[in-house]
């Protein structure tokens, strides 16, 4: 019997898993997707929000602010890139300045530092801001992270410290047994004292199986465009205009420009409610909204000084993801009154990436304090990871190649990813099992050619490392075979 089962291996589930691994507990993470971070964590704005805008006193505000303050140390500990580049919310008219003042008040109540700026002050922060901007709000503690890289790191560290993970293992039923929960997943039944419900857009399904205190999770999709890394040199901060009101009530942070930690520039996103809980598509409508928004606003953004028109030819890809918006309009945390030992981390929409590490601490504390769990004396907070080849100094590159000639085999030329790094990504705890898994962990295939050159080689390396035939290698999950047969056999 397990002490804890975590449903879902996104940023919430993996944060909980790592927190659990600090204690002498037998824990298991069940993930229905083909990989860690296969859902919401994969497709969002990659921003560590400062916490200037959630309504004061809400779970969103509390955990956003706490999470934001934890991030730098957490990323350092796990050796994940983190960049506190700050955010500029710019205004082009007095109405928008008024909104900035309102946000400043909210920020003050949430104890988040912000600064109202006139144009001159904004230009000190971001010198190439376009004409027509009269001022705005400067949020110095906003930062960028790669959420799935952090999620892989959390899962890896949790696995090193003893947590079990099962991927492609979908929970279909939860029953109350004698002094335990029975979790039906992947054709097996697992018994556990505690359940942590970190199922993202599916969290309502599990809550409503065990509790009468039901809620509904509405997938709210958001799409993003990614621009070529040659543009990032023209921009420092995350940029957005004052927030947009949604027709459904509430608001999002609006469209923004995010300089990613990987060196690309992210643009997005829209916010539209959808039916499909696994929606991660891009749509003509969604992409169209982003393109027309940025075509209109391009002149305000610093890049426009160097690239005057919205550069369609610098778009390298688009991605989508669904945020788990709850009908309670806040994070739903803790045990429902009628379901002891079942702990919700539900409705973790934006600023969920930021809040997740802080939420995990408090949710795991429920178990630890009630059960008096002992600390795990073997717990190690870091992981053994080598620097990406492209970030090494020449000296380090030389040494890396001497130790392992696979470092001299550049597989992905757009992102300069070596064969050594690809093999390592497959061999690590909770390692890559698909072309997409390699891509997310190493960035091979994520650059401007989008895998055109390297995917054939990545496929061969996967087949070698996994000990399977080329025909069995998958792009991502079930049914995503890349190759459909052997050539020149005339057997079609």
């Amino acid at each position: 019997m397990y002490d804890a089962i975590v449903i879902g291996a996104g940023i919430s589930g993996c944060s909980v898993a790592r927190e659990l691994s600090r204690y002498k507990l037998k824990s298991l993470v069940l993930e229905k997707g083909h990989d860690i971070a296969a859902g919401t964590t994969r497709g969002n704005s990659a921003t560590v929000h400062a916490g200037y805008d959630p309504d004061p006193g809400t779970n969103k505000a509390i955990y956003n602010v706490r999470g934001s303050r934890m991030y730098e140390a957490l990323c350092k500990e796990l050796e994940v890139p983190y960049n506190r580049n700050g955010m500029v919310i710019f205004a082009t008219n007095e109405e928008q300045m008024e909104e900035c003042r309102r946000l400043k008040k909210t920020g003050d109540l949430n104890t988040v530092p912000t600064e109202l700026c006139d144009r001159a002050r904004l230009l000190e922060i971001e010198p190439d801001m376009g004409e027509g901007i009269i001022g705005g709000l400067w949020v110095p503690t906003s930062a960028m992270v790669c959420p799935y890289q952090l999620c892989f790191a959390l899962s890896e560290n949790a696995a090193m410290n003893g947590v079990e993970f099962r991927r492609s293992c979908k929970v279909t039923k939860i029953e109350r047994g004698d002094d335990c929960w029975k979790v039906f997943a992947g054709g097996e039944v697992f018994e556990t004292k505690y359940i942590f419900n970190c199922a993202g857009t599916h969290a309502d399904i599990f809550n409503n199986m065990v509790s009468k205190d039901s809620f509904k999770i509405i997938p709210r999709e958001g799409q993003h465009l990614v621009l070529d890394r040659e543009l990032i040199k023209y921009v420092n901060t995350t940029l957005s205009q004052t927030p947009e009101k949604l027709p459904t009530g509430g608001h999002t942070k609006g469209m923004g420009l995010m300089p990613s930690v990987d060196g690309t520039v992210i643009l997005g996103c829209n916010a539209d409610d959808v039916e499909d809980k696994d929606f991660s598509d891009t749509t003509a409508e969604g992409i169209g909204k982003i393109v027309s928004y940025f075509e209109e606003k391009w002149k305000y953004l610093p890049i426009s000084k160097y690239v005057p028109e919205f550069p369609r030819d610098k778009v390298i890809t688009a991605y989508g993801g669904s945020r788990p918006h709850s009908d309670r309009d806040d994070f739903i945390l803790g045990e429902p009154e009628d379901a002891k030992y079942f702990i919700n981390l539900a409705g973790i929409e934006s600023p969920g990436v930021t809040a997740a590490p802080a939420i995990a601490i408090d949710m795991v504390k429920i178990l630890v304090e009630r059960e008096g769990a002992e600390e795990n004396p073997d717990y190690r907070p870091g992981r053994k990871i080598k620097k990406p080849f492209r970030d090494m100094t020449r000296e380090e590159q030389l040494k890396a190649i001497e130790a392992d000639p696979d470092y001299a085999k550049i597989v992905c030329r757009c992102e300069t990813i070596t064969e050594a790094e690809i093999r390592d990504a497959i061999r690590r705890p909770n390692g890559a099992r698909s072309i997409s898994g390699v891509k997310m962990r190493t960035r091979a295939g994520m650059g401007r050619c989008q895998g055109g050159f390297c995917s054939t080689r990545v496929l061969e390396i996967l087949a070698e490392e996994l000990g399977c035939g080329a025909l069995e290698v998958r792009q991502s999950g079930n049914g995503s075979q890349v190759l459909l047969g052997r050539a020149a056999e005339g057997n079609l």
Binding site: D281, A284, I401, A408, R413, G452, T456, S476, A488, L492
Partner: protein, 455 residues
């Protein structure tokens, strides 16, 4: 290390440049090639249509590459496969990695950039829909097929009528796969007329103009795509959506010069390629550019001609040769026009471009042989055919071709015959031109190896 001339990229442009530079007297040349063998993209082009200008004979890409490789070896030009340039400065200092040689630097007297191009991807085209397997660029599909021996799809829709997509349509058809349709957003094709004729019309593959893919459906792998008509501003027209079941969306929508090194060295750009002077020198002293890195060419023959010129210019810059090189002039092939067949005359090595209309009027010929050739083509078309052959009991494939043209109608049967008769491993090695099947299906043509195959 110091080198007089370093050429980055061992494809048609780079090899041609190296050969010419050596002929002009440059001794200390090094070609840096990323993959395991010289030849570049030609290595995966098993189809014919190469060399009509340069070698005055119709070769497959693989054979064309083989000729260039032979010349490189005969001239004793040094090359390093498996090497990758991670940095280049405008002062011609290169940082290179190689599995055996590690990381090292080369100070070059002159550099010729010949890195070629990449394909426009789904992401760059912003094609919406599911992010699933089965969406692949034509060149990547060509690599899976011709270099690895695997079929990346069986029921295929092709987006874009670029040449690689057309070539792949024919090869997939010969493999027995179903090419359902080619969809082109423009009112005309970007492909060569002869490719439309010989790759689509020969195989009854429909081509829809003013159309594009507006959605991709499927779980795990492509199950269908939505094709919509577009208006004059290329925007999809609502209500024209058509769902086409398929397992693969092949993208052939243009090529982009690969200028990452160029940009990193802060060389001045003019659009997607570097700005060059009349002698192909970029804004950086002693750094030249040629082939698809400079601009996208229709024909490899043109790429080779430009490479040759760049080699001569670099040699001149280094103080060799008589400086008599001339910038090649490229004549475009006739555009595709429905109802008119376009072809390269194979009556003599001159390679005239012929067009014959529905009434049988021939144009473009410079002698009566051309007219005769075109009429024969109109009555009983003959085709050179190339396809893959397996090595029995092994995971290897290699390119074969007909030695002479066969009747168009026999292409499918000949391909099937070849697939049913893999070569016995005991017959290896084989060399380019070795007869593997005599008089296949009594067509009058032999099947010959189009590739060197080792034991």
């Amino acid at each position: 290390m110091k080198k007089e001339l370093v050429i980055i990229g061992g494809g048609a442009a780079g090899l041609s440049a190296a050969i010419e530079a050596r002929k002009k007297g440059v001794q200390d040349i090094l070609i840096l090639e990323r993959s395991e063998e010289l030849g570049g993209i030609l290595r995966q082009c098993i189809h014919a249509g190469f060399g009509v200008h340069k070698y005055k004979t119709d070769l497959t890409g693989v054979e064309f590459a083989q000729r260039l490789r032979s010349e490189i070896k005969e001239l004793g030009i040094e090359y390093l496969c498996g090497s990758f340039v991670i940095d280049m400065s405008a002062e011609r200092l290169l940082t290179v990695v190689h599995p055996e040689r590690g990381l090292f630097q080369i100070q070059a007297g002159a550099i010729i950039l010949a890195m070629g191009c990449r394909e426009r991807s789904r992401g760059a085209l912003m094609i919406p829909g599911k992010r699933i397997a089965g969406v692949i660029t034509a060149g990547t599909a060509q690599r899976y097929l011709n270099l690895k021996g695997y079929l990346p799809g069986k029921r295929i829709v092709i987006l874009g009528s670029g040449d690689i997509g057309l070539i792949m349509a024919r090869q997939f058809a010969l493999e027995g796969a179903e090419v359902i349709r080619v969809v082109e957003i423009m009112p005309h094709s970007s492909g060569l007329a002869r490719n439309i004729s010989q790759c689509l019309e020969d195989f009854d593959i429909p081509l829809s103009f003013n159309s594009t893919v507006t959605d991709i459906q499927g779980r795990g792998r492509v199950e269908s795509v939505t094709v919509s008509k577009v208006d004059e501003s290329l925007k999809p027209i609502l209500g024209t959506e058509e769902i086409i079941p398929c397992d693969t969306l092949l993208i052939s929508a243009g090529l982009i010069p690969e200028n990452e090194l160029t940009k990193a060295a802060e060389i001045e750009m003019a659009g997607p390629g570097p700005r060059v002077n009349a002698e192909l020198m970029t804004s950086a002293e002693g750094i030249f550019a040629c082939g698809n890195v400079l601009h996208i060419h229709d024909l490899v023959d043109h790429v080779a001609a430009e490479g040759t010129y760049a080699g001569a210019c670099a040699a001149k810059y280094l103080g060799y040769g008589d400086g008599a090189a001339e910038m090649p002039v490229f004549v475009s092939e006739p555009a595709y026009e429905p109802g008119k067949k376009a072809m390269i005359c194979l009556g003599c090595p001159k390679g005239c471009r012929l067009v014959i209309d529905a009434e049988g009027n021939v144009s473009g010929n410079s002698c009566p042989k051309g007219e005769a050739f075109a009429r024969q083509e109109a009555v009983s078309p003959m085709r050179m055919m190339s396809c893959l052959m397996r090595v029995a009991g092994q995971d290897r494939v290699f390119a074969v071709r007909t030695k002479s043209p066969i009747p168009k109608a026999m292409m499918h049967n000949c391909a099937e015959y070849i697939y049913a008769h893999p070569i016995a491993a005991e017959r290896l090695p084989v060399h380019v031109g070795d007869v593997l099947i005599e008089n296949i299906l009594e067509s009058g043509a032999d099947i010959v190896a189009a590739q060197e195959v080792e034991l």
